[in-house]
Symmetry: C2
Subunit: 591 residues, 2 copies
Amino acid sequence: MPTYTAPVKDMQFLLQDVLRVTETGVPGYEDLDASFTSAVLDEAGKVASEVLAPLNAVGDAQGCVLENGVVRTPEGFKAAFEAMKEGGWTALDCDPEYGGQGLPYLMGTAVGEIFVSANMAFNMYQGLTHGAYSAIHAHGTDDQKATYLPKMVSCEWTGTMNLTEPHCGTDLGLLRTKAEPQADGSYKITGQKIFISAGEHDMAENIIHLVLAKAPGGGEGTKGISLFIVPKFMVKEDGSLGDRNAVSVGKIEEKMGIHGNATCVLNYDGATGFLLGELHKGMRAMFTMMNEARLGVGLQGYAVAEAAYQNAVAYSKDRLQGRDVTGAKNPAGAADPLIVHPDIRRSLMDQKSFVEGARALTFWGASLIDRHHRQNDAAADGLVGLLTPVIKGFQTDKGFEMAVQAQQVYGGHGYIEEQGMSQFVRDARIAMIYEGANGVQALDLVGRKLAADGGKHVMAFFEMVKAECKAHEGDARMAPFTEALKAASKQMQAAGMFFMQNGMKNPNAALAGSYDFMHLMGHVCLGLMWTRMAKAAHDALDAGAADKAFYETKIATGRYYMARQLPACAAHLARIESGADPVMALAAEAF
Amino acid sequence: MPTYTAPVKDMQFLLQDVLRVTETGVPGYEDLDASFTSAVLDEAGKVASEVLAPLNAVGDAQGCVLENGVVRTPEGFKAAFEAMKEGGWTALDCDPEYGGQGLPYLMGTAVGEIFVSANMAFNMYQGLTHGAYSAIHAHGTDDQKATYLPKMVSCEWTGTMNLTEPHCGTDLGLLRTKAEPQADGSYKITGQKIFISAGEHDMAENIIHLVLAKAPGGGEGTKGISLFIVPKFMVKEDGSLGDRNAVSVGKIEEKMGIHGNATCVLNYDGATGFLLGELHKGMRAMFTMMNEARLGVGLQGYAVAEAAYQNAVAYSKDRLQGRDVTGAKNPAGAADPLIVHPDIRRSLMDQKSFVEGARALTFWGASLIDRHHRQNDAAADGLVGLLTPVIKGFQTDKGFEMAVQAQQVYGGHGYIEEQGMSQFVRDARIAMIYEGANGVQALDLVGRKLAADGGKHVMAFFEMVKAECKAHEGDARMAPFTEALKAASKQMQAAGMFFMQNGMKNPNAALAGSYDFMHLMGHVCLGLMWTRMAKAAHDALDAGAADKAFYETKIATGRYYMARQLPACAAHLARIESGADPVMALAAEAF
C-alpha cells in the first residue's frame, strides 16, 4: 500500500529561498518565517501521513454508499474529518471574523497540497466547502455571512457548488433549473443538478448548496442566471437547524476514481433558496472564485503525481531486476534495483522535475492571489488570471501523465489495484475534466486571457521572462536555464503572433492551436520557475548553505527540465503554425 | 453504452489499395481479393458488434470470480466463446493439418483487431491460446502436436503462457520454478507463477499451460530455463481427459481493467510437465513467438483506441454545447454539436490519424511475418524484428493516450463508468505493461535491434523511406508527405548517429534516449504509412474511384498526421541529444 511523506523541505525552499515571503511586504507574510511555516507544514504532514494517507485506499475500495437517501462515506472518513476540524485545518486561511485563522492563501495552498497528496477524494469535502465559503464571503449579506460562515469555517457544515445539469456542463446558458420568487423574499428552486461533489454525506450536520438557477426576467442564456444558497436543513433565527429542505439525492455516480467522494445527482423540488449576490448576476458571482477553484484543481494535478512519484521511487530502489549495463551496483544481490536503469531514471526525472516545477508555479500563483486580495494589486490579479488556465490545464494533463509513468515503474504490479498505483491514475484523471475541461481552459487562455486588457498581462509575462534572463547574463552557471527559457519564450511569442495575424480573419486558426499553446506556455512557466529555483539554489550554495546536496539536486533537476522538457515547445509551435486547415479539413460526416 | 462497428472499408483500403495483397506473390495472398476478404471481415464485424461488444461492459462490471478453485467468467462469455468456436474464428490462420483454415497471419490480424476493439478482455482467451498453439506448432514433437493442436485450434482447450513469478518479470534469469526429471521422461514442475492471463476459467474442457522452469544442469540465469507443457487435465492415449494435474489457482487479481479476463496466480505443486523443444533452450523457444505476441499487443493499443474514437465521434455529433465561433451550425437547436469546436476536432483528428496509421503499420508488420513464414524471407524477418518494439511500445502508449482523449470528449460524463469510456482507458493501460513493459521495448530497440546483423535492418528501413520519398519526387500533391517524412527520417538518423558516437563510450548515453527513440521511430513509421496511404488514395482518385469522399478523407487525415504529429520528432531528437548527463545526474539517494 502506498505511503506519503510531506515534502516540507521542498516547500520551505519555495517559501523561504525562492519567494522569500517575509521580504515581500504582503500583509500577513511577515509571519511566514521558516520556524512558523515549518511547524505548520510538519504538523499537516503528520496528519496526512498518519490519518489521511492510510484512508486513501479504503476510500477507493469502499466508495460511498447511498441508502434511503443517506450517503455513507467510507470507514474512517468521519473520524478523520473530526480530526481535521479539531486540528483547525479547515479554518486555516479563513477570515478571523468568522472563526478562521487568517493565514495567507499561500499557506492554505501549501497545506492543501499535503492533504490532496495524501487523500484527494477525502480532501474534496473541505475543498468544496472552502469554495462555497469564499462565495458567501465575497457576495453574501452580513446576515448570510453571520448565519453560514462560522459553521463552514469549522466544517460543521460543508458546502457544494451546483452548476452542471444533465444536458449542460460548459454551456451554462442552457440550464433549466428554475428559481421562483416568493413573497418572503426567498425563492423556490426546482430542477436537477448532476456531478455534485460532496453533494450528500454523513460527516456534517448541514450542507450548504450553492445553486445556479434561472429567476424570471433575466433574459436568455447566461444573463438570466442567479446564484442561490440552498441549505439541506433550514437554519432558524437562533442558528439551530430546522426542517429538511426539499433537496434530495437522486443517485450517486459510479466513477473511474475519487470513490471516496460522493458525486451526487441532486433533485431540487421547490427547495427554499436565498439569493446570493445580485439577481441575474450569478455567473459573475460564481466566477469570482474561479481562479482559486481552478488553481486548486491544478494543484490536484501535481499533488497526486507527487504521491505517485514517492511510491515509484521507493519501488525502484526496492525491486531487484536486471543489471546496470555499466557494471553491477548490487553485486551481492541477485540483481540490481530498478533505479540503476537509465529509462527508469528518465521516468523518475520527468516526474520529479514536473512536480517541483508545478509546485513552484502553483505557489507563485497563490502568492499573486494574496497580492490581489491583501494589497489590491491589479497587475497580480491580471497575471494570475492569465496563469490560471495554464495551472489548471497543463498541470492536470501532466500530473495525470506523470501518475501513469509512476504506475509504469511498477510493471505488472502497477496494474494490480492492491498496489495503489492505479488509484493515483484514476483519481488524477478527473482533474483534467472538472472545473472546466482542459479544452475549455485552452479556449479561455487563447480566446480570452491573451487579449484581456489589451494584451497587457501576457506582455507583462514576457517582460518578466526577459528580465529574468537578463538578470543572469554573464552567469555561466545559469546559461543552461536562460538559454532554454529564452528560446521557449520566443516560441511562445511566435505562437501569439500567429494567433494575432490569423485569428482575426479566422478565429479557428487560433482555436485550433489553443491546446498546444496551453502546453507551450506551461513549459515556459515551468522553465521560468526552474530558472528562479536554480538561481535561489546557487545563491544558497554561495552563501554556504549546510545542505549542499539538497541545493545541488535542485539545480540538476532543473537542468533536466530545461534540457528534456523545453524542446517540446518547438513541436507545439509547429502544430500551432500549421493552422486551422489540417484540423478543420474534414466534413463532420467524414468522421 | 458504447457501440462498435468494424472499419471494414479502412481495412480493405489497406489490403487492396495499399498492400495490394493479391499482387504480392506471397503464397496464400492470391485468395485475398476484395470479395473474399469483405465476406470474412463483414462477418467478423457482425459477430463483434452483436455478440462481443455488448459483453464488454458486462465483463468489466462483473469481472471473474474465483470460488473453490474454479473461475467463473462473466455472464454471457461462455455462450459467446461457443459462438466464436462454431463460427470457426479461432481456427482462422491456423495450420489446416490440425483443423485450421490456413489463412495468412495478415487476415488473422485484421479479424483480431475487430474482436479486440469489441471486447479486449474476452478476446484474450483465444489470443493466449493462439500464442500457445504457435509455440507447440513450432517446437512440439509430432506426438505433442497431434495431442494438443487440434483441440487448441478449435479452442475446446485453451492455452496460457507462464513466465512471471512474484520476484521476477523482465529479468527471467531470476526465476525459481523447478522442473525435476522423472523416469518416464516427464518432469515434476514446482513453483508459483503470477499474472497468468486466462489462467483458469469455465469456458474450455482443458487448459494447456506453457511454463518456463529450471531443469537441472542448465547453468545460471536464463541459460538454465526450459519450456514445458503442463495440461490442467492429463490427456490419455486416446485423447480423452484423465486426472487433474497438480496445478491450482492461488487467487485472481483485482486489476485496473480487463476485468473480463482472469489474471491468475498459479501454483504448481509437482505438476506433470512435458518438455517442449530443447532442454535449457526455453527462452529461445518462448521468444520464437515474440514478434507475433508483441505485434498482437501493439494491435490492442490502437484497436481499443479505435473503439473509443468511434464513440467519441458519436458523442461529439450528438451532444449540443456552445456555438461555433464562426457562426451557428445548428441555429434551430439550443446549441451546436461539440464537433464544431476546433479543439474537439483537434482531438478527433489526433485519434483518427493515429489509429489509421497504426493499423497500416500493424498490417504491414503482419504481412512481413507472412513473408517470413511463407516465403522464408530473411529480410522481412529482420525488418519486422526491428519494427516489433515500435509497434508494441509506441502504439500502446499512443493508443492509451488516444483513449484518454476520446474519454475527454465526453467531459464529466466520460468519468462515469456507465458511459463505458473509462473502461477503454483502463483496458488500454495494460497493453503498455504486459508482453514486455514499454521501457523494455525501447531497450530492445536501441540496445539490440538497431545493431542487429550489423545494423542491416535499420539501414534497409532508411533506404525504404528514401526510396518512398524519391518515388514521389515532382508530385506536388505528395510534397506535404515526403517533405515531412524526409525531415523526420533525418532526425531519426541523427539520433542513431548520436547513439553510435556516444553509446560505445557510455551505454547510458544511448539508453537514456531509448524511450524517445522508440517514439521518434514510431512517428517516422506512421509517416511512412501515411505517405503510402496518400499515394494509394491519389492513385484511386486518379483512376476514377467511385467513393471520392473516402479517398479525400484519407489524404486529409494523412496531411494532419504529417503536419501535426511529425513535429514531435525534433523534440525527441533534442531529448536524445541531451545525452545521459541530465538523466543520470542524481545519486539514487537524491530521489
